[in-house]
Symmetry: C2
């Protein structure tokens, strides 16, 4: 799947991914009012609003981008109906030719990680039958448990030709609280990065490993170091835009050929219509605003890369 | 909720929790054959089998124990139908007077943790209405993101009078890979433990904080140290029994009054019928075997504590 992702990035010339995180306050009032009128102010209605919102964004951007990254928490919050929309969004994005990165950040002891890996990337055995359940292409994974918590994900990825992005250095303000602690003079995130590179060695695609890493855009100096420590590792970069990461800061997350990293934007794209810069589109044209924000983000990053 | 948990532990004299992790190979063939005959070898049938299995265990043990701990991965693997059974299991256990510890190990950047916290412990706002979605009493949380990833869980717990168990030292063999790394001569899990105690200070119940910690039974020396570092923190102890933790090793996870820790067993209870010791019960009496295993576990731990 890493090969497909790289091919899609080359084809679109867009090293970006759109984070589909349908929080209620991002969804235009028009969509909400309509579904609430039909279905009441229910979890089912909220999930339906999220679906309509997502479909609008995908339809308006799928030809420009290689991938989407739905954050499962934003669906889980609406319960079973929300998770149904998570599945539907993943399936619809795939129909449109997009790679789907499930931002699930699961991770547990081995037997439990195996259940998550089968549910999200592999197949679940029921009697003599096997079912794909959530069926993402990539999943994000938390490394706190160490190798035996990650291994079941690695195994399923090998079998299913899927991939991972393992948390190394997260984009949030307090990520340093544990991740930056020095171990023998080296920050913990570097140790995790080295381990991710090691896990990745046994799981190589054509040029890159299908075991990638998450490194936040908000820590560019660390991104630079991690890029060197993990040369074959694709880096998923959250934190661009709304969280504060800037294009010029991200250059060192990439290799010289413009590959090696894929930058996520969620709020900055899907709620672009709320940004003064795109206000002229108007709330009802939120999807057109998102398309323009995608175009601007691609330009922004490619300009920085070409310098 | 920590006060209720402590009261329930006192009342039952059972510092234990039953892990309801309905993996397919734990569910008696009789249950599976019956649901497969009715519903085919489907995800829905697997979820129904999990439900019947869980109900049997709860009905056979609820009068002996203070709490259950369903591992959400074992439900997520069956998709939406599985998660419906997770909800149903939590609700049924509460009806039976049990405290429900949702073993979800979620954790992310602030806005995402907020969505998880609302979904699992709090209420989700839809228009002018608010809904409880999964409605556990406690949830397990991964600390890798640091304070701002944990804060939304703390906030929701304060508002809803719920609680957390935050991963400090996990029970799996490779947990030391990152958790044991020395930071200024002190292992990372101690730093995390100190932080959990600090988070807990602002969230006190009567005697204990409602912000607890997870410390694996498989590392008793570390448990001893952590007990001292986190005096007001309730410790959830996985890894007893099937994973190798023994009662005499667990004494130091407790305070002298026999409180301060709650020991989980999953496989050892729910699949007791597969253990030679309980084989006489027979597969069809799996619930009676579970009840006997609960009685034996309580005796085992209380004997160790009384020494």
């Amino acid at each position: 799947m890493i090969n497909q992702l790289v091919a899609k990035i080359r084809k679109t010339n867009a090293p970006i991914v759109v984070g589909l995180d349908p929080m209620m306050n991002y969804i235009p009032k028009e969509i909400c009012s309509k579904v609430f009128a039909e279905m009441g102010e229910t979890l089912e209605a909220a999930a339906e609003a999220a679906w309509q919102f997502n479909k609008g964004i995908i339809d308006a951007t799928f030809d420009l981008i290689p991938a989407i990254k739905p954050q499962i928490a934003m669906y889980e919050q609406f319960g079973l109906e929300g998770l149904k929309v998570f599945q539907k969004t993943c399936a619809y994005a795939k129909e449109k030719g997009l790679v789907v990165i499930g931002d699930i950040k699961r991770g547990d002891i081995g037997s439990t990680s195996a259940a998550y890996a089968e549910a999200h990337l592999g197949k679940v055995q029921i009697g003599n039958k096997r079912y794909s359940v959530f069926n993402e292409d990539f999943a994000t994974v938390n490394p706190y448990f160490g190798t035996d918590g990650v291994q079941p994900f690695l195994d399923v990825c090998k079998e299913e030709k899927k991939g991972l992005f393992i948390l190394v250095k997260t984009s949030n303000p307090s990520s340093g609280e544990f991740q930056d602690k020095l171990v023998d003079g080296k920050p913990l995130y570097e140790l995790v990065g080295e381990q991710v590179a090691k896990w990745g060695e046994a799981h190589m695609g054509e040029t890159y490993s299908y075991i990638g890493a998450v490194v936040g855009a908000t820590y560019p100096e660390m991104g630079k170091v991690l890029r060197k420590l993990m040369p074959k590792t694709y880096i998923l970069v959250p934190g661009y835009g709304a969280q504060g990461g800037k294009a010029q800061d991200l250059v060192h997350y990439f290799h010289k050929d413009g590959l090696g990293a894929i930058v996520n934007s969620s709020r900055g794209i899907i709620a672009a219509y709320k940004n003064e810069k795109y206000a002229l589109f108007g709330e009802e044209h939120y999807a057109d605003a998102a398309r323009q924000a995608v175009i601007d983000m691609i330009t922004d990053i490619n300009e920085a890369l070409s310098k």
